[in-house]
Amino acid sequence: MGMQNRLYGYISILSFQGILLFGVAFIELIEIKPLNLVFVLFETIVFKTIAIPVFLNYVIKRNNITREAEPFLPNFFSVVIITAIILGSFLLSNTIHDTHLGKIFFVVALSALFTGLFIITTRRKIITHVIGFLVIENGVFVLSLAVGSTMPMMVNSGILIDIFASVFLLGIFANKIGDVLKEQDVDHLRQLKD
């Protein structure tokens, strides 16, 4: 994601992450109640993989957003920083001695979290902020899977906040900001300052 320059590239990566999450959730949560499992799988495949990317595409088309992601940093540095984030998460996870948590979940979740924050801070368009937020949400989902087999309630509430916040953010984005601002640059949202 670090070197992707086109917005559609971001969206296909998001959709791919949805498929991956579907697979992981299926393998990890196979022991929980069938109804609950169906709900989780439904969320990953329908909501994360199909609905959000389609909706993002729709927003981009409707508001005539240009296809460049317009990062503040050169792509090369982005790749270096994201690699550093992943390495850092690996190193941090090595210090954990815990039987209850697969380290891999921890690594994936942490690196997704920080990558999302990184994308938010270094891209110019408002829609890339939303995409960064969705990446963070995916990271949270992975983390909730780690405790999910014993506490399915946490996975469910994670999914609910996920759907809720994404719909809320995207809805405001599509309905309000799109109407008011013609070019959707963060620079237009710089009037409130001291």
């Binding site: 210090t95 954990i96 815990d98 209850h100 948590l101 979740a109 979290l113 924050l117 938010i120 408002i126 902020h129 937020f133 963070i136 949400e137 949270v140 983390l143 909730s144 780690a146 405790v147 014993t150 506490m151 946490m154 509430s157 994670g158 906040i161 809720f164 916040a165 809320f168 953010l169 405001i172 309000k176 900001i177 008011v180 601002l181 237009h188 949202l189 009037q191 409130l192 001291d194």
Partner: protein, 474 residues
């Protein structure tokens, strides 16, 4: 009772959204005020009795619930004045009051919640209702404020959720599944320290967006600036208190573990940085509402500093926040008349307020002395106790730094307030000044009098409640 209260709120707010008649609006708002007071008195009479499995009215919750219920009356009163003087679209007015009522109900529920998950849900609800209030004016700037607020709060609420996940990991070691505060406090010494540390960091960072501390304070500043001033008063007082309560309850759990000293350091850093940031901005900010908002950052920073340094500081932190609730909301209420006279929030456009509105001037003057904690006022007592607790716990460097910053803050605040009151404004047309009736300042005087009373001569009930609230900490 809390069940009836929440259902009643839901009914009243949905009626407010569909209703277009102004009289009925007033009636519904009055009804909610009565409901809020019934809840407050009922919970006070049923101290520490669990309700619905997820709510316990303990002393801490009762204290802040009372503070909220006191400011609720002037908030509605000033909202009505606000609508009398601005363009009046019944639909927007209905949405405003509905959002305000939902905000107050979710604040009350978040105060009373005894379960980590439940308080998390109500914290999320406050984000929603608050964003409706910020967007009230429906122009580009309020849209910017709303978007930033929602975005930052969504991220911070996600961070809190990650913190809760880490906490469940810490719990799983012991095979526990209960996330109620009571159970967590009891099992605290058994929890895995590594996960608990991570969990504390994430939850604290997430909650700072609501409490107004460094690092996530930014969204709150824009919110208080862009929302109508009565809503700003709630954001700057009751909403920040909610953030503080949530941090406090988690801090209670931490205080029984081996990382207690470490967590104190983190909170001290966050509080000290908040005071620093507030000072820097207050010295240069020219927007009156933002000046007040940054002053809130300073006060919450000071309060958590007192909490983390222990001893008498814990008592002082709670006292300070309650007094701050009344003082800061009085100041925000006064922004309304000031704006009506000068048609601007910029301090450069203001001046000679003394000449135009005598009662309002007195409010600003007394509130200024109170908020900067000058000796005879109530907040002096709490601020003095906080400094004493820093002295007792041996944080000399911190104490010296805070005192220097406090001097700068008094200078910045005084410079701007006296500019508004006494020097004459440039290029100001004196002919069309609206007359501000004295009655509009009466609620502020009552609030400021309350600060004086509670600070200087606190009633025994009040002191007992605070002492009970802090008695759980070791």
């Amino acid at each position: 009772m809390i069940g009836i209260y929440l259902i009643g709120t839901l009914i009243i707010s949905s009626l407010l959204v569909v209703n277009r008649n102004r009289r009925v609006n007033y009636l519904l708002v009055g009804l909610f005020t009565v409901l809020q007071w019934i809840l407050t008195l009922y919970e006070y009479n049923h101290l520490n009795k669990e309700e619905l499995g997820y709510f316990i009215p303990d002393s801490l919750a009762i204290l802040f619930l009372f503070a909220l219920s006191v400011i609720i009356i002037p908030v509605f009163y000033h909202s009505f004045i606000y609508f009398k003087h601005s363009r009046d679209i019944p639909r927007e007015q209905g949405v405003y009051f509905a959002a305000m009522i939902v905000l107050m109900a979710s604040l009350s529920a978040a105060y009373l919640a005894s379960h980590l998950g439940v308080s998390w849900v109500f914290i999320e609800l406050t984000t929603l209702s608050a964003s409706a209030l910020i967007y009230h004016r429906r122009n580009l700037r309020s849209l910017e404020g709303t978007w930033k607020y929602i975005f930052v709060c969504s991220i911070s609420i996600t961070l809190v959720f990650i913190g809760i996940l880490f906490l469940t990991l810490a719990l799983q070691e012991e095979g526990l599944k209960n996330l109620s505060y009571h159970a967590l406090v009891n099992k605290a010494p058994l929890l895995n320290v590594f996960w608990l540390k991570l969990s504390f960091l994430f939850i604290l960072t997430g909650l700072t967006a609501k409490a107004g501390l460094v690092p996530m304070y930014t969204a709150g500043i824009d919110a208080k600036d862009k929302a109508p001033s009565p809503a700003g008063a709630v954001f700057a007082s009751a909403l920040m208190n909610m953030g503080f309560i949530a941090i406090y309850r988690f801090y209670e759990i931490i205080s029984y573990t081996s990382i207690y000293a470490w967590s104190n350091k983190i909170i001290l850093i966050s509080g000290g940085l908040s005071v620093f940031v507030a000072t820097v901005y207050m010295l240069r900010v020219k927007n009156f509402k933002r000046l007040l908002a940054y002053s809130g950052v300073y006060h919450i920073g000071l309060a958590v500093t007192g909490l983390a340094s222990g001893g008498v500081g814990r008592y002082a932190a709670i006292l300070h926040l309650i007094l701050h609730t009344f003082t800061k909301s009085a100041l925000f209420f006064q922004v309304g008349p000031v704006y009506r006279i000068f048609k601007s929030k910029n301090i450069y456009d203001m001046g000679n307020y003394f000449k135009y509105n005598l009662s309002g001037t007195l409010v600003l003057l007394v509130a200024f002395f109170t908020i900067t904690a000058m000796p005879p006022t109530g907040m002096f007592v709490s601020e003095f106790m906080i400094f004493r607790s820093l002295f007792d716990s041996g944080n000399w460097g911190m104490l010296a730094g805070l005192l220097i910053l406090l001097t700068l803050i008094i200078y910045a605040f005084g410079k701007n307030i006296f500019k508004i009151l006494f020097t004459s404004p440039a290029g100001f047309n004196e002919s069309e000044i609206p007359k501000i009736p004295v009655i509009e300042s009466v609620p502020e005087f009552i609030l400021l009098g309350l600060v004086m009373y509670l600070g200087i001569y606190p009633p025994a009930v009040f002191v007992n409640l605070i002492n009970n609230a802090i008695s759980l900490l070791p």
